[in-house]
């Protein structure tokens, strides 16, 4: 059944605590002792940077996913692809840093209308905060459970890279 989830409520303090609690569990799951072992970078108590890559030819094309935990774990992490130099995303300047993903479970949009006006980059997947922030309709079974961890978000996006990577928006 299709539903529209209520808009997320930000709770940075709770999000930082939940992230701090889940990070060791995820590291243990992945047989790692530090985020650096996985190539990740914990920028601060609310931000994790995760390199990702897509492959069309011989050479992998690199991207940087920025996860934000401002509403975690009641809601999934924010997920934005960013310019690796600025760690931000400007659709005018940085479209090259946004992969074109077109799987049934995860699609990327350079400019997606936001209910409050303007547009945002959207990693359109039920495991990202922005998906709920824009009021996207969703199958009830796909709703973020609040029991999942941010690793579910990473895996969902990695899977979209494997299944449907179409190069960069800037290509």
């Amino acid at each position: 059944m299709n539903v529209i989830a209520p808009p997320p409520v930000l709770d940075p303090q709770g999000g930082a605590a939940a992230f701090a609690e889940d990070l060791p569990r995820v590291l243990q799951l992945l047989d790692a002792s530090r985020v650096e072992d996985l190539g990740w970078l914990r920028l601060n108590s609310l931000t994790l940077l995760v390199p990702m890559s897509g492959q069309r030819g011989e050479v992998p094309e690199e991207y940087l996913l920025k996860l934000g935990f401002q509403a975690y774990r009641r809601w999934p992490p924010s997920a934005q692809f960013v310019n690796p130099e600025t760690l931000a995303f400007d659709p005018e300047q940085d479209s090259r840093w946004l992969p074109r993903l077109t799987s049934n479970e995860c699609q990327t949009h350079l400019r997606y209308p936001h209910p409050s006006g303007g547009t945002i980059q959207l990693v359109c997947c039920s495991a990202t905060l922005e998906f709920y922030d824009v009021g996207h309709n969703v199958e009830e079974e796909h709703l973020w459970s609040g029991k999942s961890t941010f690793y579910s978000t990473i895996v969902a996006i990695q899977r979209a890279f494997s299944e449907s990577y179409q190069g960069s928006f800037g290509a």
Binding site: Q55, C106, S152
Partner: protein, 100 residues
Amino acid sequence: MTEHNQSQAHGPSEVELHFKHVNEVETANFKMPETATLLAAWDQAYLKMDIARGEKDTLQTAGGHPKAMASYLGFTLSALKDQKIVEAYNFEIVGPTGGA
């Protein structure tokens, strides 16, 4: 005793398997005969983790570039490697997401 009989007496070789349940953040590491199917191994992983199979759960290889295993559930574990479908017996169980 022939080589074939010897093989029967000792049984098929076993392989080490590693499963991670992404949503539940659980792991299972165990051995199974290389003649077992991937589906049987997947079933065994749920038992080892004491987790019920989700109706829409899917199986994929673990790592940064996962490969969906739905088409290979009937393959034996040895065939998965012999036919270069997997490099290692590392798998992830993933719950459904949507959004497109």
